[in-house]
């Protein structure tokens, strides 16, 4: 079993290396030999990943596994020590319009003097271009996006007066305004209420139905099989990546979390495999 997993990993890595440029162009995200270090301490090591189109992909792993770093390195927000990242076959700098980003909620100052509508309009700034103001049409568009996440009534609220879940929905509306094909979301489910969690799931399903690809950093193992079709198990290296049905196994999780997979998370894992749970967005298809 372990030997097979090893073979799996090698083949997946080999697959990224063996991609033809034509195949690369059809992949929303291809990462090859990515290494990232903070102060000479490696955080990500030789990461190879090929993300298929039109899927919901969870990135899971223990704290400090480099989940956020993976996203930031792919977006060019932090320098990489080595490696090649392509978005539909091209480097990120050429494909900005195709990519949407939902950062962690704690990464910004919520006391900033803007309202929810202003924040969503920021998703349009790339399109509006330099020296041009946010016009009425842009504001209308931002309001439509707020409506999609059920936040239209709060458009004029200063953002610190929103709950954590509402703030997260504003961030999602902003990503929708980017109208991208590939979305990176950093822990969108962290600390949100039930209504927001439902809204996010509904949104993910809609995005998937529209052929979009979402790479989501996720911390709740229990919900991985119900919310996502693919999973990337990360712990500085890619432990395993592929369809949830084949990759999300207890053995692989143990390899990812090491001793950190506590009894509790094991119990949650068992629970997540319960056949009575709705199958949700679980999808087939090989990586």
């Amino acid at each position: 079993m372990a030997a097979q997993a090893q073979a799996n990993r090698q083949s997946s890595s080999a697959r990224v290396h063996a991609l033809t440029e034509d195949q690369r162009r059809r992949l929303p995200l291809a990462i090859q030999d990515l290494t990232v270090a903070y102060h000479r301490k490696p955080v990500l090591w030789d990461v190879d990943l090929a993300i298929p189109e039109g899927r919901l992909i969870a990135v899971v792993g223990p704290n400090g596994a480099g989940k956020s770093t993976l996203i930031k390195a792919a977006l060019g927000l932090i320098p990489r020590a080595s490696g090649r990242v392509t978005i539909y076959g091209q480097p990120y700098e050429k494909q900005r319009r195709l990519v949407g980003y939902v950062p962690q909620r704690e990464s910004v100052d919520w006391d900033f003097p803007v309202n929810a509508l202003d924040v969503v309009a920021m998703g349009l700034y790339g399109r509006i271009g330099w020296f041009r103001p946010v016009a009425r049409a842009h504001r209308r568009r931002a309001l439509e996006e707020l409506e999609k996440v059920g936040m239209a009534p709060y458009a004029q609220r200063q953002i610190s007066q929103l709950s954590g879940g509402q703030q997260q929905r504003v961030f999602l509306a902003r990503a929708l305004a980017q109208d991208a094909d590939l979305y990176f979301m950093d822990e969108p489910f962290a600390g949100v209420d039930v209504a927001t969690e439902r809204a996010i799931i509904a949104l993910l399903k809609e995005l998937k139905a529209a052929g979009k690809t979402c790479v989501v950093v996720h911390h709740d193992l229990q919900t991985v099989p119900t919310y996502f079709d693919h999973v990337v198990l990360l712990n500085m290296r890619v432990v395993e990546a592929g369809p949830v049905d084949t990759v999300f196994t207890e053995e692989n999780l143990k390899k990812t979390y090491g001793g950190k997979l506590t009894l509790l998370s094991q119990a949650l894992f068992e629970y997540s495999k319960d056949p009575r749970l709705p199958s949700g967005t679980r999808g087939g298809g090989a990586l």
């Binding site: 100052d109 202003d118 700034y125 509006i128 200063q158």
Partner: protein, 436 residues
């Protein structure tokens, strides 16, 4: 009373222009939580200034500006470099850089002072009173050079902020997203810092290198307490800056004379006035002010005491035989162990006609009875729920119920009643009043 001359007008105009030029950019320092950067740059430009003096031997605006801009950029890079490479926090790296550069500047100025006419104290505190002496002829008018420089700086800053309004907004709020959208947050940071350096130099003559920090930070900080809109914040900060300059000069020439002293430094008074304006806003701002918070808390405290009084009266009415003397104010003070809050709450309840004063005591009106019943209903429902469903029983059930009763509306009461399996009595076997 002092006499007001065109001299005074020009001092005020120069002060206003420099204060507004600083305040406009200062908003972004405040919002980026980089107020210290204003401090750092305004100190660090000193060697740039000194080098410009030594090299050109003149106090002309252009060499000073170039020197300041160069050193401003160097400062911004050094701070960023030390911050990234050393692992020190941003404040510490600024502290290291600006004190070192400032000290270097002081040494250079002392050296230069032997050769050129340059007074260190002028650099530190400015000499706004002297600015009207040095004039340009613009369109037939004699305009002080300092007013022209600062006016040009203000205009330039305004153009910058208007042209890059959305870029400045997004890079201040969420630099990561800005970068992914292709808006270079780092570049904009350095441009902003360069402009801060240039503005600081332009304002040097009028307010000096130390007081310029007040102009950079305080108007924006005060404006942020008053509004939740970025555009309004920028506008308000300009108003505060202009007001501080006006009040500062008026204050400098009048206030000391009230106490029999000679007039004092306008620049110093301008900085004091920004502080005074900030203090006023801090105290009286409608939402974030201290006073409004105190009032909100007092209102809540009064509501709670009022609720307690209604509850007490309801319980009293429930138990007391007809003909018993009504409760009087002293009883409430004793039961609630508070004096003035009880008096004020009783006054408030009487004014609302929820209680009525009768001879030596208070009784509930019909409306007061309804309110009191609501509170007791909440209290007893909570007790039943906490005891029956959560295992909080007997001794410790009263306190949490007492806290929760103040924040339970009728809708929650009915849900609570269902959740507690519709009890008729609370755990102490007292009847739970029905909904009214």
């Amino acid at each position: 009373m002092m006499e007001w001359t065109s001299f005074d007008t020009w001092i005020v105009v120069t002060g206003m222009l420099s204060a507004m030029a600083c305040a406009l950019l200062g908003n972004y320092l405040v919002l980026r939580r980089m107020s210290m950067m204003g401090d750092a740059i305004s100190h660090a430009v000193l060697p740039g200034l000194a080098i410009a003096f030594i090299v050109t031997g003149s106090r002309g605006s252009l060499p000073m500006l170039v020197g300041a801009i160069l050193i401003g950029i160097v400062t911004a890079f050094l701070v960023q470099g030390i911050f990234r490479l050393s692992g020190l926090d941003r404040g510490a790296s600024m502290g290291v850089i600006f004190t070192t550069l400032f000290a270097l500047g002081l040494i250079l100025i002392r050296q230069a002072a032997d050769h050129v006419d340059l007074d260190p104290s002028c650099v530190l505190y400015g000499a706004i009173e002297l600015t009207p002496l040095d004039t340009y002829l613009v369109g037939g008018f004699e305009i002080p050079q300092a007013a022209v420089t600062n006016g040009a700086m203000l205009l330039f800053n305004l153009l910058f902020v208007v042209a890059f309004y959305k870029e400045l907004k997004i890079t201040s709020f969420d630099p990561a997203l800005a970068t992914t959208l292709g808006i270079n947050a780092d570049l904009l940071h350095y441009v902003l810092m360069t402009l801060v350096a240039a503005t600081t130099i332009a304002a040097f003559e009028s307010v000096g290198s130390i007081l310029v920090i007040a102009m950079l930070i305080v108007p924006g900080a005060a404006a942020h307490l008053l509004t939740d809109r970025l555009g309004v914040m920028l506008g308000l900060s300009l108003v505060f800056a202009a007001l501080a300059a006006l009040l500062g000069h008026v204050g400098a020439i009048t206030v000391p004379t009230w106490f029999g002293f000679r007039d004092t430094s306008t620049a110093g008074m301008m900085a004091v006035m920004t502080g005074v304006l900030f203090l006023l806003v801090f105290l009286f701002a409608p939402r974030y002010g201290v006073l409004s918070r105190v009032i909100q808390q007092a209102r809540l405290a009064l509501k709670i005491v009022g609720d307690d009084i209604l509850g007490l009266l309801y319980r009293f009415q429930e138990m007391a035989a007809t003909g018993t003397a009504p409760m009087h104010a002293g009883d409430f003070r004793e039961a609630l162990k508070q004096n003035w809050p009880v008096r004020m709450a009783l006054w408030r309840l009487s004014r609302r006609r929820w209680v009525r004063r009768v001879e030596n005591g208070f009784i509930l009106t019909d409306e007061g009875l309804r309110q009191g019943r609501g509170i007791i209903r909440s209290h007893r429902l909570w007790e039943s729920f906490l005891c029956g469903k959560m295992g909080y029983c007997e001794t410790d059930v009263h306190t949490p119920a007492h806290h929760l009763e103040h924040f339970t509306d009728e809708k929650m009461q009915s849900r609570l009643e269902d959740a507690a399996d519709r009890p008729g009595q609370d755990p102490h076997q007292r009847a739970i009043p029905p909904a009214s």
